[in-house]
Amino acid sequence: MACSAGHATVLFHNTGTTSGWDGQNLDPNCSISQSTSQVYKGTTSIKSQVVYNSSYTGRYHAMESKDNVYHPGDTGFYGFAFYLMNAWQFQNQQYQLFQFIADFSDTGCDDFMPSTMVWIYGNQLNTRRKYGTPCAQQIQQYSNLATVSAGVWHRIVIQALWKSDSTGYLKLWFDGTKVTENYNLATTVSDSENRYFRMDVGIYANSWHDDGHMVGTQGTRYAYFDQIGWGTTFADADPAQW
């Protein structure tokens, strides 16, 4: 995973296929499929679907996973395109679209712990940084960064310097517009193991589990994801470019 500085390096590109990933973060009542019904580029996209079941108490992940994407000290750009179904009911619950996550079971304080996530709440786009330690996690949210419309493709690009001291940064572009940039801060938890976080892309309807219910009536929700990229320059990650 070493990057040669001074030369743009594509570290991962997925053109909307269910192959080429390291795994899936897939719960019951959820599905991921390769779709030819809607595409951002090329001929396929990834359809991520979650179906609410009131008698189910587990989580709702429908995400593809790429392992070993960052660990503390790394810098990189991470991007994807997404399309929410046109009739998406914008409710006051969280729907994650993207997350970095690692297994901290060995610390005895957490298990799979997400760090930075990107989600919608209502129609607002949000992200966050997680810092501190696995046993004393702290979170800062960056809320209401953009208004997301359904039934049209959007692009997200994140640029981060992953540091557990106050020298990191986190930036996010939405549809080519930089909507947040934050410097001189911790962007990940300190970790004596310096373990890698993996990158998950797809829907994770975390509020359905965390709130114990679903708001609204739209129990079947889907979104398409396409052109997921990771690299050392903006263009490596922005779905508009490649």
Binding site: S19, Q24, N86, W153, V179, T217, T220, F234, D238
Partner: protein, 366 residues
């Protein structure tokens, strides 16, 4: 003579009409489709054909600038945001002028979009608008999908189905017999690549090839469903054909003629053209990252911007790390800078060749 003049006059009127109707149409809108009115005045005009009303400006702020612009923004701040929006309009306009919307690849993308939007508009009408609970939502959705599937005439080729079954068996065998994942993937890829273009199913002037089904099937995680029975086949075909079947039903109901559907198509076309233009500019930035003297350029960038990399120390002191320590960050920041400069240069050039009129009074009122 009289009749010739008459024809000329009619011809002139006909040529004039589209220009006038374009001036008040929604065809370049990116965010909002509220008609221009006394309560929604035009805040900017670009050339003779593009108008940006206040509703579009507000929607742009909400979509992309809310986190940046203050609620009580100064006039100069509002003007800067409006300039950004005008820039996006100019980029989209440039894509139209270059015929990007006529490229076969772009037209194919719009076909996908039209089909999925038709299916979603119908679902919204038949399911979202009627469901009172999540359970009812699921029931209405299943009813709608079953209804259109059962009503459809789907003709399956027995020969192609046999080819599909055989290929599916080979794919599953590759998983079971291969020692490692790479070998298994290679065998699966070989099975798919050797498949011909046989049509498995035909319906409503559409077709599904064995290859298309296999592309989905191969990407399912093992153990994959069997494809040996009619029900197995229906289960894998149904989601594949559903958007087209729903779209066909939506067309029958005239949804294509609904104003909100037409606006959604315009919005998608313009959004995709905007993405295309951003991509083109980023390509320039990417080319810049391949410059033979990139190392020197990166170092020069660092020298010009090194305060940006300063680290806060004790008692308010600042330390600037050496280039070698921040080289990766410099590379990333430099790549963003190249793109931002390419975009700014392009928009500056487009503004020179397009007359832009801003109504300061309208902008000031917001």
């Amino acid at each position: 003579m009289f009749s010739k003049s008459c024809w000329l006059l009619v011809g002139w009127l006909m040529l004039g009409l589209p220009a006038n109707s374009r001036a008040t149409s929604f065809e370049r809108r990116l965010f909002d489709f509220t008609p221009v009115s006394s309560t929604n005045p035009v805040v900017a005009r670009i050339g003779n054909t593009m108008e940006i009303p206040m509703s579009e400006y507000r929607a742009y702020v909400a979509a992309e600038k809310e986190a940046i612009i203050r609620t009580n923004a100064s006039f100069a701040e509002k003007q800067a945001v409006l300039d950004d929006l005008i820039g996006e309009y100019l980029l989209v306009d440039d894509a139209y002028k270059n015929g990007v919307d006529k490229h076969p690849e772009f037209l194919r993308k719009m076909d996908y979009t039209r089909t999925i939007l038709l299916s979603e508009f119908l679902t919204a009408q038949e399911v979202d608008a009627k469901a009172k609970t999540a359970d009812e939502y699921h029931r209405l959705l299943a009813d709608l999908q079953n209804r259109v599937f059962e009503a459809a005439e789907i003709i399956v080729s027995n020969e192609a189905y046999e080819k599909l079954k055989k290929a599916a068996r080979e794919i599953n065998a590759a998983d079971q017999t291969s020692i490692d994942r790479k070998a298994s993937m290679a065998r699966i890829r070989a099975v798919m690549e050797s498949m011909d273009e046989s049509v498995l199913a035909r319906y409503d002037n559409e077709k599904v090839t064995v290859k298309e089904v296999l592309a989905i099937y191969a990407n399912l995680h093992a153990p994959r469903p069997r494809l040996e029975t009619k029900q197995d086949l229906i289960d894998i075909l149904k989601p594949l054909v559903m958007p087209s079947l729903l779209a066909a039903e939506a067309r029958k109901r005239g949804i294509e003629n609904h104003a909100d559907f037409k606006n959604k198509i315009e919005q998608n076309r313009n959004a995709l053209l905007r993405i295309y233009e951003h991509g083109r500019l980023q390509q320039q930035a990417s080319d810049g990252m391949k410059a033979p003297d990139l190392s020197e350029r990166l170092r020069a960038w660092y020298e010009q911007n090194k305060e940006h990399y300063a680290i806060d120390g004790a008692a308010g002191s600042k330390t600037i790390p050496p280039y070698s320590e921040v080289r990766e960050r410099v590379e990333g920041d430099y790549s963003v800078g190249l793109w931002e400069r390419a975009e700014a240069d392009k928009i500056r050039s487009l503004r020179k060749s397009n007359q832009v009129k801003i109504d300061d009074a309208v902008l000031g009122q917001y």
